[in-house]
């Protein structure tokens, strides 16, 4: 489904991703772990099409198509979803309006009619239950004044409504207490299907107790320095990252991106 080959990307003159290669197939969950500043979030944002990052070389294909040539909205319309590490507040736009606009844009791109508002409301109410959110959230402005946990749940709600084929969760676990973590993980697991895939970007192993990965990759210094099965996450939890980072080439240092 997703094929990344020797991807280099950065901001301005600063290269952050220094040759990432990764292959994700339908039905799989991949975890990307690594210390702060390793390039995890950059990879997530580059895949979603953040205009602030420049891809300098390498390729990324999605279902055989050149992903990097597509603007962010077309990636979304083709089924890529990024759950933001820091969801953006949009005062003046209600959650309900935003969800419906996004949902219908994606339908429109597939040549489908807009969904009937009543039918859509039923869908949203069902998905709200999946992430244990109060329907009142729909009438509030997108993320405005939401707590950290509410914002993360709201990301998963959007994911649940939009039904992506490739979901990328960028540190969705950070700042969540254990109850919220369970709710979020339950939401993600409920949405798993044989024809979709999930990339979980995280600093900590604990989310992976709930969302069990098929593959774990350790990112350090802008490169994948180790890949393995789910046991690798446990090993990282026990040993930390230093043993891998020290083995990695120089250039790891750098602020969190």
């Amino acid at each position: 489904m997703l094929e990344i080959t020797d991807l280099h990307a950065g901001i301005g003159d600063r290269e952050i991703l220094k040759g990432i290669s990764l292959s994700v197939s339908a039905g799989e969950v991949h975890a990307i772990m690594g210390p702060n500043g390793s390039g995890k979030s950059t990879l997530a944002q580059v895949l979603a099409g953040h205009p602030g990052y420049e891809v300098t070389s390498g390729t990324a294909t999605y279902d055989g198509e050149d992903l990097l040539a597509l603007p962010p909205e077309e990636r979304a319309q083709k089924g890529i979803f990024l759950a933001f590490q820091y969801p953006v507040e949009i005062p003046g736009v209600t959650n309900a309006y935003f969800l419906r606009a996004a949902f219908n844009e994606i339908r429109k791109s597939k040549g489908l009619e807009e969904m009937d508002p009543m039918e859509f409301r039923d869908l949203v109410e069902e998905r709200l239950r999946l992430v244990d959110m109060d329907p009142d959230m729909l009438t509030r402005a997108v993320n405005a004044g939401f707590s950290g946990g509410e914002k993360k749940r709201n990301e998963i709600l959007q994911m649940a409504v939009l039904g992506p084929r490739l979901a990328i969760l960028d540190e969705t676990d950070s700042g969540l207490d254990i109850d919220a973590l369970r709710v979020v993980a339950h939401g993600v697991n409920s949405l798993r299907r044989p024809d979709n895939a999930t990339i979980v970007v995280t600093h900590y192993q604990r989310l992976l107790n709930y969302i069990v990965p098929d593959r774990v990759h350790v990112l350090a210094g802008g490169r994948i320095v180790k890949s393995g099965g789910k046991d690798l996450a446990l090993e990282l939890e026990a040993r930390g990252y230093d043993w891998l980072v020290e083995a990695a080439p120089a250039g790891v240092a750098g602020a969190g991106v």
Partner: protein
Amino acid sequence: MTVQAFLDEFTAFAADGGREPAWLLPVRRAAIERFRELGFPTTHNEDWHFTSAAPIAEAAFVPLSGGGDVRAADLEPFTFGDASWTQLVFVNGRYAPDLSSVAGLPGRVRVASLADALREGVPAVRERLTSLASSDHGAFVALNTALFVDGAFVHVPANVVVAHPIHLLFIADADAAAGASHPRTLIVADHHAQATIVESYVAIGDPLYFMNPVTEVVLGDGAQVTHLRVQRESERAFHVGTSQAHQARDSRYSSFSFATGAALSRTNIYTVLAGAGGEATLNGLYMADGSQHVDHQTRIEHIAPNCTSHEVYKGVLDGAAHGVFNGKVYVHPEAQKTDGKQTNNNLLLSPDAHVDTKPQLEIFADDVKCTHGATVGQLDEIALFYLRSRGLAADDAKTLLTYAFAADVVQRIDEPSVRQALETLARERFVGAATAGVG
């Protein structure tokens, strides 16, 4: 139009003024004298520093005197609410009784054309007209005072609550081309009266004309007036509008100015908190593109103690539009315990759009709480990416964020039908317009 042309117009007008009450002519003469002295303001004038009146001063206008071919169906895009609304319609400056509806008003409430009220010798008109907006307000108010032909008169007697809004609709059509009009409106809310008045300036087509309206609003003790002003003039028009309110004790004046039309517009919204315990809310939204120039001047004068004023103005400017906001809050020495808050936020959608914003506080009392602030910014790139990452096209994301910025202030309008109508206008204002330079 030169100053002299307006002076000549007055000479002809005064010679023909036989149908007016005798007291008005000296007032008009004083006003035209004042206009002669002042002439049109130049950018050397502090209040006109960012707005040049030269396009008005140099154009050749003739007095606008009615005509027009406006049918009831033509009004539909400009009306709010339903048939229960009282509506006075003025076509090219003249009252159009056939298009107006004054039925269903509570007893003793008067909504009429000012010309009719003057002819009838209504006492409130004699007492109040020109008492608030005087020659001190500068050349344009003086010109209006000298030359006004018609406008609206609204009188809500003491303790009367008018449930439905009253709409004063000033419409221009092709016959307004090259005309100048100076509508004059007087709104009197006696003690503990309540009313909502919507004043609209709109056009059919794109005639070039000069609209110079002046509105005076008198609020008695405990009166509550909501005054919504909608400026959607023709894209080639010039609009200089002044509204002056005077608030007695415990009165509440709530003003909203929505300005999206005209090539050049200047809107002055002034109020005086003359009695203790008064409350003034002055909000507004201006949205302009192309080469439009949109200027708002507001002045809140705190004369009495224990009064509150709140002000939020927002501006959205695209293309090479130029916005101006100048908000003054004067707190007189006697106005202790004043609580004043003023904000002006601007969104620039294009590198060629610009805004000059100048919030001003002048405080002569020592026990007050006053704040002010202004911002100028662009659309948030991260927010745009967020919306696009959910499938919204770049242009739709920009439109949505722009609307969200504007909606915040529109949502402060209490009257639901007007709020919804202005939300729609705000949402559609820049749809399809060039938003080059963003993203």
